[in-house]
Structure formats: C-alpha cells, structure tokens
Symmetry: C2
Subunit: 512 residues, 2 copies
C-alpha cells in the first residue's frame, strides 16, 4: 500500500480539464481563468484548498487559495498574462486549526468549559510560531502570551476570535496529510486575436483589372476598403506556384485551356513549392510589401496552408519517399473512389520517412512565421493524420507562441472537435447551414456549453469560395445582411469571402 | 518524440469509464456489458477496432470486434460470467485491406481499369497467407490463384467480392500502426443480489414478548412472515455488546435508567467488541441458527457495521493508539459542537497507528464473512475517511467476491456518489423525501442517466428507524402503500424497517 491513509480529502470534477488533462484548455492573454473542483472529506472538519500554477517556461509554483461555493464546489481564479502553456494543480487538506477555531466558537457560545480545548489550539499556534519568521512569529507569540495570561478560559478564548490569527495560521501552519490532484492540467494562452477576430478572404489574382491576373500589388489596393469595413485579418488562398500537369479548367473541367490559371491548391511547379510564391502574384518582396501595408492598416495577413503537391512540386522528385508508389511505379494521386484528382499528389503519412515529412511540413510553417505570418488557415486538416496536427501546432507555437491556426475541416463533429483539442486555435463550423432560430440556438448552445468552449473556438463564415448556401442564393441582400450579423454576433470570430459577399453575389452556377 | 506518427486512429469517449478508469463500473454476473467509444481517423480509410478484455484473475486477453454505429461511435459487447474485476481496453487501426476492398468495388462499378489495384490487394492477401495456418492458409492461397488466373482484371476482381475473404483477412492480416486506448478500464462484477434485492430491517431485541428482550430465537420466528412478504435480505442493526458508560436513555435522554437497554450503536462492553454478540441476543451458535433458518427461507442476513466504540469497548484499553487523546489525557468522545455524544468514542483515523486500525476494521468484516455473512450495511461511512472505504471494500472483496456493501450515507450528493465509486455496492438515497411526480422523476432521472448508474445503485427505503417522513406521518395506509410501490418499482433494490412499516405505524414522537 503506497497511499497515506490519513490524506482524507478528495479532489475531483476539476474544470477546466479536457479529457483528464490530455489536452489544454484554451484562453487568451488578459483572461482570468476560473478553476473549480469538487473538494470534500469525511466528517465535519473544515478543508483548505489552493490552486497551484506555473506560468509558461517557469518552474516556480504560484498559489491561489480556493473558496467554497455551495455543494462541495470550490473555486479560485488567477490572471493569465503570458502567451504559452500554464499548468495548474490543486492541493487540499483538512485544516485542523480552522476546524478547531470554528468549534471553539460554538463551544463558547454554548457556554461549555473550553480550558482543555485551549490547550489543543495552543499547541497548534505554538507549532506555527516556531515555523514562522519575523513579524509573523512575533504576532503568533503574542497570541500565545494572551493564552497563557490571566483570566477565565472564556476570556482567553475571546482573544482568538480574530481574522488576523486565522490569516497568520493560514500562512504559517503546517499543512498535514495533503491531498494533491496528482496531475498538472494545461491551459494554453493565445493572444486576443485567437479568440476575437474578423476575417476577409480574397484571391489576390482576382484583384486585377478585368481580364488581367491580379498580384500582391493590386490586392494591396483593396486593403483600405477591407480595413474600412472593420476586418482585422485578410486571408489569402495558397500563394504558391501552381502545377501544370493535369491542371483543371473552369468548373473542375479535366482539361485546362492555355488561358486557365489552375487551382491554387495544386501546389508546386518548377518555380518552387510551399515556400515559394506564384510568379504571377509577385516576388517575396512584393508579399512583404503587401503584409506591411496590411499591418499599417491594422490588418494581419493569414495564409492558407494546404499540404498536398501538384505532380510538378519539387518534392515529387526530390523526396519520392514522401509519396506512395503504386505497383506500376506511378505515384498515387488523390482519389475518393471513383473520383480522381490527378492534379494532386497527397503526402503519404504512413511512409517510413514520416519523420522527415513531418519535419518538412513543420518547416513550411516556420518559414512563413519567419516571414512575419502568424495566422494560418489550414486546408482540409481532417485528411492528414490527427496526431500530426497535435505535434506540428505544438512545435510551431513553441517557437511562435503568437501563432494562430484555423482548421478548415467541414467534416464529422467528433473530428472537428478533436482537431480543436489537438491544438487548432479556431475552427470553421456548420453555421452556414443553420438557418432557423431553433437550429442556430441548438448549435451555438452546443458550442458554448458542456466544456466545448474550453477547446473549440468557432469561426463563423456565411460564405466561402466553396460555400454559397441556398439561403444566400435565394435571399438577396437581406439574406446577406442577416447572415453577416448572425456570424458576427453569434461567434467572436467570423469571416466572409469577398468581394462576392459584400456585393451580395448570390447567383449559383446551378440551382441549389 | 516517442509516438509513431503512423498510428492514425483516435479512440476517445469510452463507456463505461468512470473518472478515466480511476474507478470500476459496476455490473452483475450474467450481464452483457456494452462497451462504446468514439473511434475515427483522418481521411476516408476504413477502421477496424476490437475490445480486448481479461476476466478476473486471468492474464489471457480475449477479444470482441467492435461495430460502427453512427457518427463515429463504435460498440462491442461481451458477457460477464465471473465475480470480480474484469478489465478491458480497445485497439483500433486503419484496415488497409478493408479500405482497398471497398474502393475496389467502387472502381469496378465505375468501370475503371483495376489491373494495378489488383496487384495492391494481391500483396496484402499474400502477406496474410504467409501468416495464416492450415485451412485459412489454403483458402487464402486459393484467392491468390484466382487472382493469378486467366480473365480480365474485372473478372478476377469479381472473385474477391466475398465475405469469406473479408473474414479470412480479418483473422490473418497483420494489424499495422495500431492505436491502443492506453489504459485498462475496470468493470466490477457482483452477484445478482448486489443489483436486485429487497430488504427487511428489524431489531431482534424487539421481537420478544411484550416487555421482554428479544433474541435471535424470537427473531427467527419472524422469518417465515418476512419471507412470505417476498423479502430476500433481513438486516439487523448492530448485534454486538452494548456499552454502559454514559448509556443513553429513551429518546436520547443523557441519563439511562437501569431498565434502559442502550443504543446498539454504542458498541463494546466487557462481553466484547465488534466480533462479539450482545449476550441478551444469544450466542454465536444462536446467531448461526438464525442465519441458517433465514437461508432455508431464501433470505440472506445482512449485518450493520458501525465503526465506533463505547467507552467500554475492549479496544479502548487494548489499543489506546486508535483513539484521540485530549491534552488532559481523556479520550476524545464524539462531538459535533456544541452537541456531545459521550457514549461514543470515534476511531482516530489520523492516528500514527492508522495501518493497524485499518487492518483491524478489515478483520471485523472478514470475521463476519467467515461466519457466512456477505451483506454489510455500513453505518455512517461518510464519517470515516473515504480512502479507507476504497481500501477495505477492495480487501474484503478480494477474499469474498460475493460480498455486498450498502452505504448508509444520508449526506451531501458528491460524497454519496464518491462512496459508491469507492466500492459500495448499494447506497441509501434521498428517495424518502422526494414526494411529487416532478421530484421523483428528476431524482431517478439523475440516478439513471449520465453514467451515474454505472457506479451508484440506489436502495430505496420509505422508512428506517431514523426516518419517518411527514408523508407517512399524515398519509395513513395509502401513503405506506404508495411509498412501498414507488420504492420497489423505481429502484431495483428497496427495503423497509418493520414491523412498523407493514403495520402502518405513522405516529411521530413529535409533530413533523
């Protein structure tokens, strides 16, 4: 038996706690986190409890006393000032001095002889005095003198009903038979924008004059208008070189014409891969100018990170071990049988070389982070292994605690939640398809209760380049206004795909 | 990095699981336990999953395949035949053969050329054949022959759309990149009576002729009547010698008269302590006769175990280290200031000698278990340390897996739940004070949903020697009938204190 049977206090039902501490609860800097737990013991003795916590990168424990609410629920709060992972735990113990002190008052009130009880308390105060230093020791000793003085037991007891003594004892009495929670629970603190942001998505190439390919320069001209609308994040679909092999045409036509610019998600060409810039958009310097111009307007640039390669991506030849070969020697292209996507090679995460693949993908984030980009919208994270995301987000945030990740996973609910637990700062939602009051109430109740909001931060989008709901197709301007106001008020993060949205473009390619 | 990044499957949300496996879920022998979990991975690949479990005392793992329900929820069942602690865990992995097999069908249906795909599947079947033995190996090889035969790729694929092949591959294919739950979750299997019982409480001393002290012999005469009413547990308040020092009189009078028999909960006298029998009730042989007579009628005897001592208990002199001394050298009697209970000495669980105290209290249970008693109603468990109960119930059930413990803890809800988690087989409830339809519905909904029923088995009592509700005081015979039927139908365990109950004795000592 390894336990000490005299540790009588039980601690359970801690919040915030996600899956037994397996994942971090999310907060933003400036938040005050409220920690609660069920804390109780046998019998009538009084309990004291503290939350102990460490700030990111610090080994020193800080402490906040917990207060009893009702029904054995206890609470403490502490401020989150730094970015990174805070860790907290809880200690609780039977407070023999408090118990004795409370009982003493009841005994005196009932007119009982407390002479012997005073001896019990005296021993506790004496022990605390011998542990205390300086002024605390002096003051504790003065209580001992009162206790040893003249007068009836009742009169001597009177001197002890004093908040000062209780505070002195809380500071100096030995904590005995302490129950520790036994685990450190993480709280990940992001910067405010992780929890409060308004996004504007646009294709830089669509900002040119009619019929001309846009660039970072023409896109930058849109920024004042975007800032004036109040957005603080401008998000660009992939800005990398686009492959030509099996390039798709308009409306997913399998054969592209010479005029077709291809899908920005078919990443990589002779001009480079995930660290390069599509030549028609400009140079890296042009990107930097765009970013600086945005920042001057209070707007941050978010990049789309889509981990897949066109057949022309440099990695396809330089790192064949990151792709899956078929028995005929060809590389397996993306499929969801019977659908085929020959312009896309997925990375093969079950490769023996998965470690170098993971490192490379991490380095893509680090490359853009070094370029000043700290917000990443991740394309289809649910088609890459979930453990990869937990690892890579952890790695990037270790280097850049201000990094923010938005998960573009319109998939089954448990996978969406898991991605959030694994580290994504924000998540796309089903908001676009929730129309009735009941649907919206149910959905946002689910997202804001039961602990979900501890890890899942919704980012509500009424439209995206992929999503134009029937509500917008048929509702006209009022529908666009309604959806914008709902997105911006139901969620602390929202975004639109423009300029289609603010121009109320509701015409569908085909009905429905 | 210690993980294998290729283990792509996630397992979470397991039921039954109590506090991350810290406590056992409760079932009874003959139950089939349903295990569920959320199991999912990235992408479209198909998953296979199994529950692995070990029976009590066995090291061999058994396995049950899990089936997908909806929304990434999976389920398996297995039968619980033995008493004791089963342990289960879950393994899940991407099933590459199943994924390939499903895709192959879609490709064939879409008229795609599957020649290369057949080579992919062939390699998997060949690997399985080389692992397989006997008949399985032969059959797998026959599929390989079909694959290598004449005919178009489509025709050769046709031979593979066969449940037999799927079953053969499930048995023989290597499981790669397996995600294990990573913990073994306990299920404690009790005998049926732990979950389905009807109790009758009586004081043997009250079964004598009017004015005479009853005994086991007179109590035994009540048994046929009790059996005829359908009860299968007869529960006796403490049967041990009763102390005389500070003996209480009628209605808790502080001074007893010579005629007062004292409280059976003031345990211990010169005649012995917790292992002895109150002389006026009879001898150990008389107790054995009583027990045998009950068992012949299909009734089991339950004893009340109250861990406290009268000042006359032998342990008070033999084991002073188990009691708390005050500074004046006296032993601390029970108090809830300003109330005093001088006829009771509590055991001091913070004693340095707590280990020998725990052992002694365990041995009290073992003593009566050796006497054939396997049901224990534990008095006020919430006034003894909760970790003690977890330990002692575990110890007793290790020796007597058929032991049943009923917690008499009418206290705060979290403590009642914790006692159940810590091991109590059944628990008294607030049923007696829930009167309206809404109160009853709310309360039993709480007890039967949200996982509570995995650890907390209510035992509903309309009355006890301590409890006579206003409903019974003022409701007359109809009230007694209603409460009996409610108790017996709302809960699978119920009990009454008789013969007051079945005689509709509703007169209160004082109003209310």
């Amino acid at each position: 038996m390894e336990i000490d049977g005299r540790n009588r206090v039980i601690i359970e039902g801690v919040t915030p706690e996600i899956d037994g501490g397996r994942f971090a609860a999310k907060r933003v800097a400036g938040d005050v986190v409220t920690v609660e737990a069920d804390i109780f013991a046998d019998g009538h003795d009084l309990i004291s409890a503290v939350v102990r916590y460490r700030r990111p990168g610090e080994s020193e424990w800080r402490e906040q006393p917990m207060k009893a609410l009702v029904n054995d629920r206890w609470r403490a709060e502490f401020a989150l000032e730094m970015l990174g992972v805070y860790r907290f735990t809880i200690d609780a113990w039977i407070d023999h001095f408090l118990s004795w002190h409370g009982d003493l008052e009841k005994r005196v009130d009932a007119g009982q002889d407390v002479a012997v009880e005073l001896l019990v308390g005296r021993a506790m105060i004496e022990a605390a005095a011998s542990r205390a230093k300086g002024r605390d020791q002096k003051r504790l000793r003065s209580y001992l003198e009162d206790l040893d003085g003249e007068g009836s037991a009742d009169e001597r007891a009177d001197a002890l009903f004093d908040d000062d003594l209780v505070a002195l004892m809380a500071r100096n009495a030995e904590r005995t038979f302490v129950t520790s929670l036994g685990r450190e629970l993480p709280i990940e603190v992001d910067r405010l924008r992780a929890g409060f942001s308004s996004w504007y998505e646009l294709f830089p190439r669509s900002t040119g004059k009619l019929g001309e390919h846009g660039s970072f320069a023409t896109a930058a001209d849109e920024l004042p208008r975007i800032a004036a609308m109040g957005f603080d994040v401008v998000y660009l679909p992939p800005i990398h070189p686009i492959g030509t092999t099996h390039r798709k045409g308009v409306d997913n036509a399998t054969a592209a014409t010479a005029a077709d610019v291809g899908s920005p998600w078919a990443i990589g060409s002779g001009a480079g891969g995930h660290r390069a810039i599509h030549p028609q958009l400009g140079t890296m310097d042009d990107f930097r100018s765009f970013r600086r111009r945005a920042e001057a307007l209070g707007i941050e640039v978010a990049l789309d990170i889509a981990f897949q390669a066109s057949p022309d991506h440099p990695a396809v030849t330089e790192h064949q071990e990151w792709f899956q070969k078929r028995p005929d020697g060809t590389i397996r292209y993306a499929e969801n049988p019977p659908k085929k996507y020959q312009d896309i090679y997925p990375f093969h995460f079950e490769s023996d070389a998965w470690r170098t693949l993971w490192n490379e993908l991490r380095d893509v984030f680090l490359h853009w982070a070094a370029e000043g980009v700290r917000i990443f919208r991740v394309d289809n994270p649910h088609t890459k292994p979930l453990p990869f995301w937990e690892w890579v987000i952890g790695e990037v945030k270790r280097a850049y605690p201000d990094a923010i990740f938005l998960a573009e996973a319109f998939t089954r609910p448990k996978i969406m939640y898991y991605l959030a637990k694994a580290g994504f700062s924000q998540s796309y939602t089903y908001f676009a398809w929730r129309n009735s009051k009941e649907e919206l109430t149910d959905y946002f109740t689910e997202l804001t209760t039961g602990g979900v909001s501890d890890f899942f931060r919704p980012n509500a989008w009424p439209n995206t380049p992929d999503i134009l709901t029937e509500f917008l197709q048929y509702g006209g301007r009022p529908a666009f206004l309604m959806r914008l106001i709902l997105a911006a008020t139901l969620s602390a993060n929202y975004g639109i795909y423009g300029p289609a949205f603010e121009r109320f473009v509701g015409a569908a390619r085909e009905a429905g």
